[in-house]
């Protein structure tokens, strides 16, 4: 058995329940989109809003139909939120306590006694975990792409829907591995906190961007996208597959992959110098 196969088995054995739940959420979204025609409704709703039609000028039948569909839309949005959170959480959890946990438990000595480079060894295991993660995220992506391909959908929209969870999941695993390499034992929990805080603070900074950029806070506002988890940038990057390519978002996503890989490498070099970290 090689590292890739062993890691794949490990990832599926330990995380298959979460993977199944997220997959079922995606399947529910696909079923809803295809059987309840949510996509055409969204297009109708956009046209309705664009026309800026006063609500009292709509017919009672139209309002009743909209009311019913709004309930389904709320349910779909809820499932979507859970789905994306689940895909991200899978990325965070699939890494396990790869580095920090093994250092503190002493299990690191199973590998540290051997002559191979410890950073390279953990990098190999991380790469294998990302392959396993990618395989699962692709399955997640297919479910939301199927949802997007429902009535009123298009290939571009489906591809965009497919790319978003895959990118989020891979980036979440990079964050989790980086944190663990830096010695954070509860790396998945810290990753959730980082992503949720980024999600909450991102819009706040966007709203404050104008006043911040005019004052002495300008450098702070400029740095924010490079520090917070790029959830919005991942969305914009994925949207590039259905509309115009967003080079800024693409660059930001690549930057975050590079940032967390660099942090992980720095942490791993420290681990190689002192493998054991007994409490």
């Amino acid at each position: 058995m090689n590292v890739l196969k062993a890691t794949f088995q490990f990832a599926l054995r330990t995380r298959w329940k979460l993977a199944l739940v997220v997959f079922l959420l995606g399947a529910a979204l696909a079923t809803m989109a295809r059987s309840m025609e949510i996509n055409p409704f969204l297009i109708d709703l956009q046209e309705f809003m664009a026309a800026n039609m006063p609500a009292d000028s709509a017919s009672p039948d139209q309002l009743q139909s909209f009311g019913k569909m709004m309930g389904l839309l709320a349910l779909s949005t809820f499932l979507r939120t859970l789905f994306f959170f689940g895909a991200t959480l899978f990325g965070l959890l699939v890494v396990g306590r790869l580095v920090a946990g093994e250092r503190t438990s002493g299990a690191v000595m199973l590998w540290a006694q051997h002559p191979g480079s410890l950073p390279v060894f953990y990098a190999k295991r991380y790469a294998a975990l990302q392959v396993a993660n990618l395989a699962v995220q692709l399955a997640f992506g297919i479910t939301v792409a199927t949802a997007a391909l429902g009535p009123g959908g298009s290939a571009g929209v489906a591809l965009s829907a497919f790319v978003q969870p895959v990118t989020l999941g891979l980036l979440a695993a990079a964050v989790s591995f980086g944190l663990s390499s830096l010695g954070v034992r509860r790396n998945a929990f810290a990753g959730v906190a980082y992503i949720v805080l980024s999600h909450l603070m991102g819009p706040l900074f966007l709203e404050l961007e104008a006043p911040l950029s005019s004052g002495s806070w300008e450098p702070v506002a400029a740095v924010v996208p490079y520090v917070l988890f790029p959830g919005q940038a991942v969305g914009d990057f994925a949207a590039g597959f259905r509309s115009g390519w967003d080079w800024e978002a693409t660059g930001l996503v690549l930057y975050h992959f590079a940032l967390w890989s660099a942090l992980a490498w720095f942490g791993l070099r420290r681990v190689a110098r002192r493998p054991l970290d007994l409490p």
Binding site: M1, N2, V3, K5, A6, T7, Q9, F10, R13, T14, G96, R97, G101, E102, S105, G106, A107, M109, L110, W111, A112, Q113, H114, P115, G116, L118, F121, K124, R125, A272, R274, P275, L276
Partner: protein, 238 residues
Amino acid sequence: MTPSNGPADLTVADLDIGYLAGDPILRGLTLDVAPGEVLAVVGPNGAGKTTLFRTLLGVLPPLAGEATISGLSPAAYRATHGVGYLAEDTVMPSGWSCDGILALAVAAVGPGADTDAACELAGVDYPTSRLAEKLSKGMRRRLGLAVALVGRPGLLFLDEPEAGLDPGQRIRLRGKVEELAATSTVLVASHDLGELAVMADRVLLIGNGGARLVQPPPDGFTREFLEETFLDPHGGSS
């Protein structure tokens, strides 16, 4: 099993070991271990057996003094040649099968790893598809020994290798250590004095912050001998 490095030699001069500067567990250890020698390390709980192994593995810096393995610092030797280390408490990462753990060990060793020979030598005679965390303590220790032997090390540290083994396995282990000494220098810490008296070439007695090298007593470790030793580990000739 063919050694990749050949048995290592170990030289220790005025070594102080411990976790806190100014508070060594063991002071002024001076020692030469010849290639292929089996050195038993004996002492009461907390005397510093595991700490000594961690220092010689290069994962814990010495407080004072120097240790070299075949002319290299312990960390440099471990990084270039690899060592074998069976920890006192063999912790296995959870969620991994024995096969998976052996595959990871092979990845850590690189070219020249030999799992089949290591498993045979360590006595891993159960299905390796099982989850490592579900193994009994004795089986887990045998897996830990196999992981230690995968790289065919020239220096082997065995920290209480008999723990968790049944009497039959202990006897087999004694034979294995003699076999391993043909290809490796072996340092073994144990409370099983009967086994040590048979398998060791020399015995390092540690306790009360000091150490003393002796030949294995021909009539075994008698109560009088041990009482005298542990009450006064500096006594007698080295």
